[in-house]
Amino acid sequence: MAGETPPSHRRDSIKQTVGNAAVQRRRQLAVSVAKERREAMFRTKRLCMEGISMNLEAATNGEKMIDEEPPVLESQTSKAVEELKLAVSFKGKDAVQNKVNALRELRRLLSRSGFPFVEVALKSGAIPLLAQCLSFGSEDEQVLEAAWCLTNIAAGTPEQTNALLPTLPLLIAHLGEKSSLSVSEQCAWALGNVAGESDELRDLLISQGALIPLAKMMVPDNGSTVRTAAWALSNLIKGPDPDAATELIKVDGVVDAILRHLKKSDIELATEVSWVVVYLSALSDVATSVLMRTDIVQILVDRLAASNNLQSIIPLLRSLGNLMSGDAYTTNVVLDPGHEITDSIIRSLSKCLKSEHRFLKKEAAWVLSNIAAGSVAHKQLICKSEAVSLLLQLLAGAPFDIKKEVAYVLGNLCVAPADGLGRPSLLLDHLVSFVRNGCLCGFIDLVSPADLEAARIGLHFIELVLRGMPNGEGQKLVEKAGGIDAIEQFQFHENDDLRMMAGLLVDSYFGETYGLDE
């Protein structure tokens, strides 16, 4: 009534600002400026060194790699282009065989991993000639060799990849059902290299209609073709524009094919297909919801349990994490805490947390943080598993980026999902047990101006400790771990959110009463 009644929003303003963010599912950001390590190694562009053809013995005939000196090879390359030029203009008998021979020689030179003489070939004018060799009605063998040359040119530098521009419509045209399997596969490979180069080239390929024929190539059970098509598709749809992913999921038969290959195929093929799933689930909500209506999570989890190698585990983890962060259904229904599948995924993730590879640890922690954002039962299940002790170890001693992911998991485990009124509550037994095991120092280390998200999760956890630890023990623990200094770093920071949070924490828990009643 009287003027001194504090405004009605006074209640627990600190909970509003601090507590909640700990229980969010997090999607990987679509944009990245960092090097895509895993892909730079195995994926983006591939040189084709051995023929993919099955029915052309000639391709592997007398193909010894000769150790000539680079200058020699260089002149051989320009000579090979000259030969090709002659062969293309030659109209007589054996014209086709001439062209094939010239192409084969050029391809042989372009397939050398150490010194692919792409630059020389381009300068000598190879592209228009290769484009001619792709023209409709040409012999399969000729098209195949030409596409192979283009594949390896496209595997080069960005400028070299861009040189393929005039040939793209033809390469796409040869993907069609009328081409032989080996031709379409080789063309897919060339296109995959192009798509791996840049957003602009991806957009161009999509506008020229590359998506649907590539998608159709995934449908049959032909291992090699499917693998190449899947790889090319994963390059083609990887965004940042989500439209391609949405379009892909709508192509007839694609969903079934994905599931079938994931379930039944050999590890290499399954790996390529799971990369397609990675991009589908990362970019497109439509694709995610289509996939969610299938048993894909079960399939991925089974695969994960059976996998031991880094290359195949990474896309499985990434897909699972994406599916969980994109749609609460995954965690809430498919990964019901009572189902065996949930135990299985937690076991597999624990295995990854123990791995040598930092990337696996980081990725596994991210997936786990999304499960940990689920129901209280999920949180209890994780806390009963061996994952917790692994997480606590990682928080204490892992490199920064892993620590940060682990912090999200542990933070999520301490907070129950929001009730109907939008306010999450503390899971005290989890918090107390983590803190007793010494996790507070790890969180306080994260409170550094070097990384703002890490600082935020660190401050959130400090707030939980201050608010939640019994008998007001939180204050002493935070003090002892040097928490006050850590918080104070943000009292004048330019980031509004962190500054406000730090201010609130200091005022609410460490400040002095200004007015002081008697």
Partner: protein, 966 residues
């Protein structure tokens, strides 16, 4: 505004006049400019003036400043009078070349202006900027035009700073990607080309200076681009970058460095920027960085050993030690594990940096405020003394015992050296004290600490107490300050008897002529008075300070007379604290109020230090409250003292103090018995001036004062149309969401204290303005306030009066309001008094109003009961959802004082229903009574309309009061 000779003439004259020492032409020019600023193309015209070579440089500078400020307030599209898109485009086209060709001072302003635009428009809305800067940079580099190079780099640096303080998100990463695509490669080639030029320019000091500054800017840009993530380009080119960085840490540039302190500082700034970069890599990209680590540790180490031994070079030392600290807490901490290394660290790095320097002594003497801020208040994170201690703490994370052992030995050592020759070696003792205080761990409750380094009590006895007992309060002031600081920091650990024995000494130090010393003495006393045992019980009470109160207050007021301490906030805070705690006898009260009023009159001349002023007003409010409550006969004397000052604040329009003055006046009005003396009634009339209510900071204080008047002198309202004026204010406040609640605070006391006959003629108007607001913008707060108002009206003036009064606006309106506003939102009421009031009023309505007892209204009746039960049975946090506060941008006009509540001038919350103790009991009893009259009528209605949970809650309520509803 068109660009022509007249405009040029007009603007030039205005800007010239703004520099005039005469207030008259200056004000007129400022007014003209601020009017002109509203016309379109004003910004463009000013920018053209800046570019006009024929105009005097001084005028152009002042125009450049004006231009920058103009953009600051008007570039954002959401500002009240935004710059048009067309004008913006033209400004964007002109500004880069103008900036590059401008003289340094104008360039600095335009660069800032550009950054202002960049904050909003870059990169998406200004795609031409970065390519333009890039190509200009290339041209300038090729032409060896390093002034332009630095101008461009400085601009890029300020544009990219935004990557350093935002959370990672797709939009910000897209912006970053754009900047990287356009600028990562040019940045590297710039660095490499400047590096070549540096080698070539080795002897040309002037050029070299520009080049070194350019490299520094490049390093800062590197930092911004690498902050969020490690970009691919930088990973791929790490070798090149790291070799550049290492170069600047290891190379010397004698032509610049040896040319004087500023030359050395310039090179050190570059090295410091390098240290920031490698620290960042060490912290976040440890995997990439590890192969460079040992080389950098070596380089930084060598640099530090030299820098630590020299005076100045603070910034370099701080960043370099920060780097080592990060390494010491990383997985590579073993680099520092060796005994020899640890010894070197303490001896060659830590001790030399903790030891006082000449510049510390200078700061101590010349700028005590800054010294205290760093030394005592934790703003020393960037000082070499503090960062040296951070390094020790970092190493101690892994090697605690070794560090404790070494530092203890060093402390011992320092004290031994001091003992040999105290007069000559006093700095060693200071060093020992500093180490103990800085290495202590901070604890809750402000600034108390603990330590493992020494036994606090014995260190205190043997090292600190002798200083505090020193008879000359001005001798060795830095040691005295250190001792007082130690006492303050460890106050919780010093047993009360020991502390009490020293309190007289601390009071004595208040009379020191050294500003830091008397400030620390005041701060020590103030903090001691705040010490609580077991978190609740104050350790020091009025009994403890009683015996020395007079000398304490005398010394405190005496300190305010010392040069430069006239507005010493530590002293004033201590005065405030003592007045809150001490028993104030009239003998103390009278000199205190005189002293405080004198200070008040002085600061009114020119209010400078807001903290000091706040403590001053708080001290006055405390004194008034505590002295007058105990001894009402003091009131007239206090009034005699204070009223002239407060009236002067109003008369001279010291607007900063208005909110305080109104709060103090309200306090004085409350202390008077009715009738309120006539001199207050003049203030009442001032209070009704509408202008005062325009400033948001005044409003809560004015409301507070108005309430006091309404309660103390309700009948005065009837005279001279005052009520009409008050209601005008209510209308104004309630019309805006930001002040609606204050509006109710004005209205409620009227409803509560005036008879209905007086306000009847206004009620219909009041209701209709409220309901109009409700229709136009219904905020949850407005709804709550309205329910409370109606409840208050109901309990004060009766149900039927309320219903009739609302229905007089429109037939059947009450029914509608009840159904759509009151019942659905009843459960959102918060606050004990408010819940009680609205529950009681609702129950009365439920049980006593014919409207609701009408059998046709049974649904309404049921719903209202349901709402009442929710309100009474559920705790606040379960009933109410948090609502985000909507910021209000509407009223930023000119200078704004801020409203700060005076804790001691507050009003006790009045309960309008004192006669009802338990609202639950009251409500249930009323209900039980009703059901006894209409036996059997209500249970079916309850079963139908009250939720099952609430039925159970109602049953439980009945049981607990042994009542039944049948």
């Amino acid at each position: 505004m068109e660009w022509n000779p007249q405009t040029l003439q007009f603007l030039s004259q205005c800007f010239l006049d703004t520099l005039s020492p005469q207030p008259e032409p200056r004000r007129r020019a400022e007014k003209n400019l601020s009017d002109a600023a509203d016309t379109s193309n004003y910004g463009l015209a000013v920018l053209r003036l800046v570019a006009e070579p024929s105009v005097d440089e001084q005028i152009r500078q002042s125009a450049a400043v004006n231009f920058k400020n103009h953009l600051k307030t008007r570039w954002v599209p959401s500002s009240a009078t935004p710059i048009s898109d067309a004008e913006k485009e033209q400004i964007k086209q002109l500004i880069v070349p103008l900036m590059l060709s401008a003289s340094p001072k104008i360039q600095a302003q335009l660069s800032e202006a550009l950054a202002v635009i960049g904050n909003h428009d870059f990169p998406k809305l200004w795609p031409a900027l970065l390519p333009e800067l890039k190509s200009n940079l290339e041209t300038a580099l090729n032409a060896s035009d390093f002034a332009s190079v630095n101008g461009i780099l400085a601009t890029v640096n300020s544009l990219f700073k935004k990557f350093r303080h935002q959370y990672k998100s797709d939009p910000i990463l897209l912006d970053l990607k754009y900047c990287l695509d356009n600028f990562a490669a040019p940045l590297l080639s710039t660095v490499e080309s400047i590096s070549v030029k540096i080698n070539a320019a080795a002897a040309l000091a002037a050029t070299l200076r520009q080049l070194i500054e350019a490299q520094r800017l490049c390093c800062r840009i590197f930092y911004s681009l690498n902050y969020l993530d490690l970009p691919e380009f930088f990973e791929d080119n790490a070798d090149k970058w790291m070799s550049q960085f290492k170069n600047y840490l290891t190379m010397r540039y004698p032509a610049v460095e040896d040319s004087g302190a500023d030359g050395l500082a310039l090179v050190d700034e570059l090295r410091a920027a390098v240290c920031d970069n490698i620290s960042h890599y060490m912290e976040k990209e440890e995997e990439l960085f590890q192969k460079y680590l040992s080389g950098f540790v070596e380089a930084v180490w060598s640099l530090l050993v030299v820098a630590s031994a020299s005076p100045s070079r603070e910034r370099l030392t701080v960043t370099a030690i920060k780097f080592l600290t990060i390494v010491s807490t990383s997985v590579h901490h073993a680099l520092f594990a060796g005994d020899e290394i640890l010894q070197q660290i303490t001896q060659s790095i830590v001790i030399p940096n903790v030891m006082l320097r000449d510049e510390d002594e200078e700061l101590f003497e010349m700028n005590y405020v800054e010294f205290i801020r760093r030394d005592m208040e934790g703003s020393d994170l960037d000082t070499r003394r503090r960062i040296a201690c951070e390094l020790l703490k970092g190493i101690a994370g892994n090697y605690k015992d070794k560090i404790t052992e070494r530092v203890s030995a060093q402390i011992h050592n320092c004290l031994a050296l001091f003992a040999e020759n105290p007069a000559a070696n006093w700095k060693y003792k200071d060093c020992a004290i500093y180490l103990v205080v800085s290495l202590a761990t901070k604890k809750a409750g402000g600034a108390s600490v603990s330590t493992d380094l020494v036994d606090v009590e014995s260190f205190f006895r043997s090292v600190i107490v002798p200083e505090l007992q020193g008879q000359d309060v001005n001798a060795f002031p830095m040691l005295k300050a250190g001792a007082l600081k130690f006492f303050t920091m460890f106050r919780v650990l010093i047993p009360k008897p020991i502390a009490m024995a020293l309190l007289g000494d601390v009071v004595r130090f208040l009379s020191s002529d050294v500003n830091v010393v008397h400030s620390y003495a005041a701060s020590c006393i103030e903090k001691l008075l705040l010490v609580k045992d077991n978190g609740v019980q104050s350790r020091y009470t009025s009994l403890d300070i009683g015996p020395m109160l007079l000398v304490l207050m005398t010394n405190l007021f005496g300190a305010l007379e010392k040069p430069e301490s006239e507005e010493n906030q530590y002293i004033m805070r201590c005065i405030m604290r003592v007045l809150q705690i001490a028993d104030i006898s009239p003998e103390v009260a009278s000199p205190c109020i005189t002293g405080l009023t004198t200070v008040l009159n002085r600061v009114c001349e020119n209010p400078k230090n807001p903290v000091f002023n706040h403590c001053l007003f708080e001290a006055i409010a405390t004194l008034v409250r505590r002295a007058c409550e105990k001894n009402p006969s003091l009131v007239p004397a206090f009034e005699t003292c204070l009223l002239p000052s407060l009236q002067m604040i109003l008369a001279k329009e010291v607007t900063e103090f208005f909110p305080y003055a109104f709060q103090l006046l309200a306090q004085l009005v409350d202390l008077n018995r009715p009738p309120v003396p006539p001199h207050y009634m003049q203030i009442f009339d001032i209070l009704l001036t509408p202008d005062l209510w325009d400033k948001s900071a005044n409003v809560p204080a004015l409301v507070r004062l108005l309430q006091s008047f309404l309660q103390q002198a309700p009948n005065e309202l009837n005279r001279d149309g005052r009520l009409r004026n008050v209601l005008g204010i209510f209308n104004k406040l309630v019309s805006k969401p930001s002040t609606e609640e204050q509006g109710f605070h004005v209205l409620n006391p009227i409803i509560e204290n005036l008879g209905y006959d007086v306000m009847a003629e206004y009620m219909s108007h009041i209701w209709s303005s409220l309901f109009t607001r409700l229709q136009n913008s219904k905020t949850p707060r407005l709804v709550r306030c309205l329910i409370i108002l109606m409840s208050l009206f109901l309990v004060k003036h009766g149900i039927q009066t309320l219903i009739d009064s609302i229905n007089s606006v429109q037939a059947n309106l009450f029914h509608l309001i009840l159904e759509q506003i009151w019942i659905p939102n009843l459960k959102t009421i918060t606050g004990n008094t408010e819940v009680k009031l609205s529950a009681v009023a609702s129950t009365k309505l439920l049980c006593e109003s014919p409207l609701l007892l009408d059998p046709a209204a049974e649904k309404l009746w049921g719903n209202l009961l349901d709402g009442i039960v929710t309100l009474l049975s559920q705790p606040e946090e379960e009933r109410v959802e948090d609502e985000p506060e909507v910021p209000d941008f509407g009223e930023a006009t000119g200078y704004q004082a801020t409203f700060v509540r005076l804790h001691n001038a507050g009003k006790k919350e009045e309960d309008p229903l004192k006669e009802i103790r338990d609202p639950k009991h009251f409500s249930v009893a009323l209900l039980a009574n009703l059901s006894a009259q209409f036996r059997g009528r209500f249970p079916p209605i309850i079963a139908r309309y009250v939720s099952p949970a609430n039925q159970a809650a109602l049953l439980q309520l009945c049981n607990s009061y042994n009542l039944t509803i049948a």
